[in-house]
């Protein structure tokens, strides 16, 4: 006998759990399916979360012992050549006090378990080790439940929320979200390197409990559209590096080779010196942006989080968009259930709510960003090289006048990249994030 639920959620990540939590709080009967042995078992992310979105779901998350690694008090941006690079950073007392937990690092295996536990306390049923293999539909094509890989594994639901991530097998199977093109995803690898807590405090110049994020662009991705990050955890560092999948394929570069070179970079090596590698993982990122977002609702179903390509590639914001979209999906579903209309029309409010939220506003604002990076490979080759050589020359004291140095630098830049191209690049760049 099939059990009936009001809502079935596929995936116990940030999108699925924030939806399940919001639904359970309203007394709605919700079941969540997770293919990993526990929530977070299969999840990979850089590891930064934002207090705003988590606070919307769990206002007292600190008091409820959210497993925070470090509260981020400083953000750095590096632009690297092969042998060195530029560093811009910003730190503010506000992030230690008033805006504490604006951003913080977490280990996803622990965080997701904790987050799912909160939803369970509110009455959501979280079923792990169970893969949703297909959706149930009636003759009219309307989604009526899910089929899992267990015996007697069908469950009927009035609404199904698809939140099984970028690697969504379900989205591919149902065709609700076409398989992303190589251009629209990045392949990233991550290594977690263990270091004593005090060593991290010293190397990053922070107090206990405080942390730093570093976002890195430049020649580290070997001329490919890509990015690297270093995040501080309590007693480990997360190093991630990734590049556009199409670029990786056409350059036949293996991500782990890129990671090894990144670890040996003169600005990175001293930070991880004598650290012990603990974990290694790989993940896709939805980088295609606004124009690759599929239709996010239909008869009896909704899509949230990275299954719906909701990811801000420029600001590396995925988990919080997942939480925001999951919560908006829950609100829509609650309204639809109350009105008794869980068809396409009844769920249409979801799209409107997303459009009105920061999720779609941000994604729309940066919709040209992915294409901009893909079309301007000099950002990852010529420009960091020229910048580094100019800075090196200006800082070298060798008896040559600064004026002569500037002239030679200007000539070198003009020889490497036509000024018109540079101007166009700056214009396109500004427009892509404008």
């Amino acid at each position: 006998m099939r059990e009936e639920f009001e809502v079935a959620v596929v995936g116990a990540g940030p999108a699925g759990i924030s939806a399940a939590l919001a639904l359970a709080e309203k007394g709605i009967k919700v079941i969540v399916f997770e293919r990993g042995e526990f929530p977070g078992a299969k999840n990979v992310s850089g590891g930064v979360l934002y207090g705003h979105d988590l606070g919307e779901s769990v206002p007292d998350f600190i008091r409820r012992e959210c497993p925070v690694e470090r509260n981020i008090v400083e953000s750095r941006v590096w632009y690297l050549s092969v042998d060195g690079g530029f560093n811009v950073s910003f730190r503010d007392r506000a992030f230690e006090e008033g805006l504490s937990f604006n951003a913080f690092t977490v280990g996803r295996a622990r965080f997701d378990r904790w987050f799912a536990g909160i939803a369970e306390e509110k009455g959501a049923l979280v079923v792990c080790g169970t893969t949703v293999t297909d959706l149930l539909r009636d003759d009219g094509g309307r989604v009526t439940g899910v089929r899992t890989d267990r015996s007697d594994g069908d469950v009927t639901a009035r609404v199904v929320l698809i939140a099984d991530g970028i690697n969504s097998a379900l989205a591919a199977k149902t065709g609700f979200r076409p398989e992303p093109k190589p251009n629209d995803v990045a392949l990233a690898v991550k290594e977690v390197i263990e270091l004593p807590e005090e060593v991290i405090n010293e190397r990053f110049n922070v107090e206990a409990g405080h942390g730093v994020t570093i976002e890195i662009l430049g020649e580290i991705t070997k001329g490919m559209d890509g990015v690297a990050v270093i995040y501080t955890n309590k007693n480990s560092l997360s190093l991630c590096i990734g590049a556009n999948l199409f670029d990786l394929m056409s350059n036949t570069v293996r991500p782990y080779e890129m990671l090894e070179e990144f670890k040996a970079h003169p600005m990175v090596a001293p930070l991880i010196k004598s650290g012990r590698p603990r974990e290694y993982m790989a993940h896709w990122l939805a980088e295609g942006g606004y124009d690759t977002i599929p239709h996010l609702y239909g008869d009896g179903y909704l899509i949230a989080g990275e299954s719906g390509m909701l990811f801000n590639a420029l600001h590396r914001e995925g988990s919080n968009m997942a939480m925001a979209s999951g919560r908006l999906a829950a609100l829509t579903i609650a309204g639809a259930l109350a009105r008794g209309d869980t068809g396409s029309e009844g769920l249409a409010g979801y799209a409107a709510a997303l459009q009105a939220s920061y999720v779609m506003k941000d994604l729309k604002k940066y919709r040209r960003f992915n294409r901009f990076l893909l079309n301007h490979k000099e950002l990852f080759s010529t420009l960091p090289r020229l910048g580094a050589s100019a800075a090196r020359e200006m800082l070298t004291v060798d008896g040559i006048s600064k004026k002569e140095k500037q002239t030679s630098i200007r000539r070198r830049i003009q020889g490497a990249i036509p000024l018109a191209r540079l101007a166009r690049l700056l214009w396109a760049g500004a427009r892509s994030i404008g």
Binding site: M1, E3, I31, L125, V126, V127, G129, T130, T148, R150, S151, D152, G153, D154, V155
Partner: protein, 278 residues
């Protein structure tokens, strides 16, 4: 038929390492699992229940989080579960453990006479294989250890025929019920929980019995009731490689030296004759 199945929560020993400096188990971050032998015991109980009808109670002793293994048992089809949990039970060796489980089984027996108690042959963390026989002795039940096949269960004449592993081979034996059976891994392959079973287990509230509820005498449980304790854990020293007889250049003297060496080693000769397969 009324079945009781004993299940222990153990660290996933595939992931446990021994700290080379302190010689203690490094358990932090290691997931806890149901002892794999006990899952075979449960599967056997479920198969017998499917065939002959009856009731399966899963029983575990451990800290509150051991509830997890009983939830797993419910998800797989156990009809009831009882967790024996009390600070007073902590630090129990196999003697105290089998006493506590025996008292609990006696309680269950009062409700509904127990026909077959099933245990794993041993637990993967302690490897003692003593608790099953300890329970049987106290209950006064017949016992069959290292069972790899159940040949016949006669519920009318109340006897059971099993094939069990013994040193150097197997034996097929028959004995009367009630009985305690400890199972080897080959006996059955644990099933995967159905979805309704899994959902049921997530909602299940597991009965918890403390020392009072079990009716245990305090001097016989926990650390107090345990005459044995672990004094030290150590990693065995790495074995040195044996002698090498290089027969590449001149085989005859090398083989001669080899034969002289093994003939001189009485222990090795007797080993060789004991295990003709080697």
């Amino acid at each position: 038929m009324n079945f009781v199945c004993c299940i222990k929560q153990v660290p996933d020993t595939a992931e446990v390492k021994i700290d080379p400096e302190t010689n203690t188990l490094m358990r932090s971050g290691v997931e806890s699992i149901s002892n794999p032998y006990d899952l075979v015991a449960l599967e056997t109980a479920l198969i017998l229940k499917d065939k002959y009808g009856g009731w399966v109670t899963a029983l575990s002793m451990g800290p509150p989080q051991a509830e997890q293994v009983l939830k797993e048992a419910i998800s797989l089809g156990a009809d009831a579960a009882v967790l024996l949990s009390d600070r007073a039970f902590a630090g129990a060796d196999t003697l105290a453990t089998s006493y506590t489980l025996y008292k609990a089984i006696r309680n269950l027996d009062l409700d509904r006479p127990v026909d077959i108690v099933l245990c794993g042959k041993q637990a993967i963390d302690g490897d003692t294989a003593q608790v099953g026989p300890g329970i049987a002795t106290r209950l006064g039940f017949t016992q069959f250890t290292s069972v790899i096949e159940i040949r016949e269960l006669n519920t009318y004449d109340r006897h059971i025929t099993v094939k069990r592993r013994v040193e150097g081979g197997f034996e097929v034996v028959r004995g009367p019920l009630p009985t305690v059976i400890t199972v080897d891994l080959g006996l059955a392959r644990p099933r995967r929980a159905s979805l309704p079973g899994l959902i049921l287990s997530l909602r299940a509230v597991i009965d918890k019995w403390d020392a009072d509820a079990v009716g245990a005498e305090v001097p016989k449980i926990g650390l107090k009731g345990s005459p044995t304790w672990v004094r030290r854990i150590f990693s065995p020293p790495l074995k040195e490689g044996g002698p090498v007889f290089d027969a590449r250049k001149d085989p005859v003297p090398a083989v001669e030296r080899f034969l002289d060496t093994i003939v001189a080693d009485e222990e090795l000769i007797s080993e060789l004759f004991k295990n003709p397969g080697v």
